[in-house]
C-alpha cells in the first residue's frame, strides 16, 4: 500500500500538573494514498492534535511524520485556528495566500463568492460568529488547490444551507483530492471516506471498512 501520510513511532504528550497526558503513544501508521480517511474518537481522545501533527502544525515528542513526495496537504481547517483574530478576513486571506504562493486576488474572489460574508470580509475575524468563521475557514481552504484537505469539525457549527453547499463542493473536490476528516457526523464520514482510523487509548486503529470503523467507534 502506498502511503499518503506515514507515521513512524509517533508519540505526542502534553504536560498537565506534572503528569504526561499521552495523545499518541508509539503509533505507526501508513495512511493510504488515494483514499479519504475519517478519524474517529471520543471527545478529548486527541483527534485534533493528531490532525495538527499530520499537518505539521505541531511536532511529535518522538517519532516522525512524512508526506508522500510531491503531495501538498492543507492546513487543518478548524473553527478557531490558524488565522489572526484581530485582522480582517481579507487581510487574513491575503497573508495565507502569500504563504502558500497563491494569487490572493483569485482566492479572494472565490472566498467572497463562496462564504457569502458580505461586508464582514473587511472586519476582524474576532467579530465573526462561529458559523461565519467556519464558512470563512472552509471557503479559504477549498479556494486553494491541495492534494489532501484536512478538516477538523469545521462544519459542525455551519447552518444547514451552507453545509449542503459545502458538501457539494467536497463532492466536486473528491474527484481529484483526498480528505482527512475529523467529525462526529457519521453521515459525512460515510459519504466521503473510504477508510477509518479510530483513536482510543493513545493508539490508532485502522479499519478498511468505514461501517466497521463506525461500529468500533460507537462501542467506545
Amino acid at each position: 500500500m502506498t502511503a499518503l501520510i506515514t507515521l513512524n513511532n509517533v508519540t505526542k504528550f502534553y504536560r498537565a500538573r506534572g503528569h504526561r497526558r499521552y495523545i499518541l503513544r508509539d503509533v505507526s501508521a501508513r495512511m493510504p494514498l488515494g483514499k479519504s480517511i475519517g478519524i474517529l474518537g471520543r471527545n478529548g481522545a486527541g483527534k485534533s492534535t493528531t490532525v495538527r501533527l499530520i499537518a505539521r502544525a505541531d511536532k511529535p515528542n518522538k517519532g516522525s511524520i512524512a508526506w508522500a513526495p510531491g503531495v501538498e496537504v492543507s492546513w487543518p481547517m478548524g473553527i478557531n485556528v490558524g488565522f489572526l483574530p484581530n485582522t480582517s478576513g481579507r487581510d487574513n486571506l491575503r497573508v495565507v495566500s502569500r504563504i502558500y504562493g497563491r494569487d490572493w486576488r483569485k482566492i479572494f474572489d472565490r472566498v467572497e463568492d463562496f462564504a457569502e460574508l458580505g461586508k464582514y470580509i473587511d472586519m476582524p475575524l474576532s467579530t465573526y460568529s462561529s458559523g461565519m468563521r467556519s464558512r470563512f475557514s472552509f471557503a479559504m481552504s477549498v479556494a486553494m488547490d491541495f492534494d489532501c484537505y484536512l478538516f477538523d469539525e469545521v462544519m459542525s457549527v455551519a447552518d444547514a444551507r451552507f453545509r449542503m453547499k459545502a458538501e457539494e463542493e467536497l463532492a466536486r473536490l473528491a474527484s481529484r483530492s483526498t480528505f482527512v476528516f475529523v467529525s462526529h457526523r457519521m453521515r459525512t464520514i460515510q459519504k466521503f471516506c473510504q477508510c477509518v482510523y479510530v483513536l482510543n487509548d493513545s493508539k490508532l486503529e485502522y479499519f478498511e471498512s468505514v461501517s466497521e470503523g463506525i461500529k468500533r467507534y460507537e462501542s467506545l
Partner: protein, 268 residues
C-alpha cells in the same frame, strides 16, 4: 482550479529556500500593511515622531543655554541620537511581541518563529531606512542641517543597529517563552539603555567618573560614531566601532541560537 506551484517530488535545498523567501515576503508585506494601515498615516508618524522629539529636546537645550557640543548643529545632533536609538528600542520591542501577536500563523507548517522575526525585521528595517533618508532630505531642504560627512557610513550604522536589535530581541523573546517575566525586565533594560545611550549628550560632556561606565553601553559607541560620521567638527575619542560591531555580531549569533533552541516551544 488554482494555479498552484505544487511541491516537487524530491524537494531540494533551493526549493526550501524559495518557500522560505515566499513566506518571509508575505509576512513582511502583512507587517507593513498592519502597521501603516490603508491610508499610510503610520508611515507619516514614522518620520514625524523622531523629528518632533528632536525638536523638543533641541528647543529645551537651546532655552537652557546648552547648545550642542563643539559647535554641532542642534537638530541633526539630536537626530543622530534619536533616530538610531529609537530604531533599536522600537525594533527590539516589535521583535519581542511579534510571535505573540501572530501566533495564529504558526499553524501553517511553512511558518516558523524565525520567519515571523524576519518578516517583522525586514518591514521595520525598510521603514527605518526610508525614515532616515526622508528626515535627512527634509533637514537639508529646510536648512536645519549641513550635509553629512559620510552618509554611506551613517546608512551602514542604521542597518547595523537594526541587526543588533533583531539579535537582542530574539534572545529575549526566545528566553521569555520559558521565563515570561523577562519581557518586563527587557522593557526596563531598554529604558536604561536609551537614557544612557548618548542620545541627548556626547561623551566629552560627561564627567570622567561616569563616562567609563556609560561606555559599556554599546549604543554609546553608536551615537558617538553617528555624530563623528555626520559632523566634520566632531571626532569621537571615546566610542569604539569595533566594540559596537562585536555586540551586533554577538547578539545576532546568540539570538539565532536562542531562537533555534526555543523553536516549537511556543504555546500554539
Amino acid at each position: 482550479m488554482e494555479d498552484r506551484k505544487g511541491l516537487p517530488n524530491k524537494p531540494g535545498l533551493w526549493d526550501g529556500v524559495r518557500v522560505q523567501f515566499r513566506v518571509i515576503k508575505g509576512l513582511a508585506l502583512r507587517e507593513l500593511a498592519s502597521e501603516f494601515g490603508k491610508r499610510g498615516q503610520g508611515l507619516v508618524f514614522t518620520f514625524v515622531t523622531p523629528m518632533l522629539q528632536s525638536s523638543v529636546i533641541a528647543i529645551i537645550r537651546l532655552v537652557a543655554g546648552v547648545p550642542a557640543y563643539g559647535g554641532m548643529e542642534i537638530f541633526p545632533f539630536m537626530i543622530c541620537g534619536i533616530l538610531y536609538v529609537r530604531a533599536f528600542t522600537l525594533m527590539n520591542g516589535y521583535i519581542n511581541d511579534v510571535v505573540n501577536s501572530n501566533k495564529g500563523l504558526l499553524y501553517f507548517y511553512h511558518v516558523t518563529e524565525l520567519d515571523l522575526y524576519l518578516g517583522k525585521f525586514i518591514a521595520r528595517l525598510s521603514v527605518n531606512l526610508v525614515a532616515g533618508i526622508v528626515i535627512y532630505i527634509v533637514m537639508r531642504m529646510t536648512g536645519l542641517a549641513p550635509p553629512a560627512e559620510d552618509p554611506m557610513y551613517l546608512l551602514l550604522l542604521l542597518i547595523a543597529v537594526n541587526f543588533f536589535a533583531l539579535g537582542y530581541g530574539m534572545c529575549f523573546a526566545a528566553i521569555a517563552i520559558f521565563v515570561p517575566t523577562l519581557r518586563a525586565v527587557n522593557r526596563w533594560i531598554n529604558r536604561v539603555l536609551f537614557f544612557t545611550s548618548g542620545t541627548f549628550f556626547v561623551m566629552p560632556e560627561i564627567p570622567p567618573g561616569f563616562r567609563e561606565y556609560l561606555l559599556y553601553n554599546p549604543l554609546v559607541s553608536l551615537t558617538e560614531w553617528t555624530r563623528t560620521f555626520y559632523f566634520m567638527q566632531y571626532q569621537t575619542a571615546f566610542g569604539s566601532l569595533e566594540y559596537f560591531f562585536e555586540w551586533v555580531v554577538g547578539a545576532l549569533v546568540l539570538g539565532l541560537l536562542c531562537e533555534r533552541l526555543a523553536r516549537g516551544h511556543y504555546d500554539r
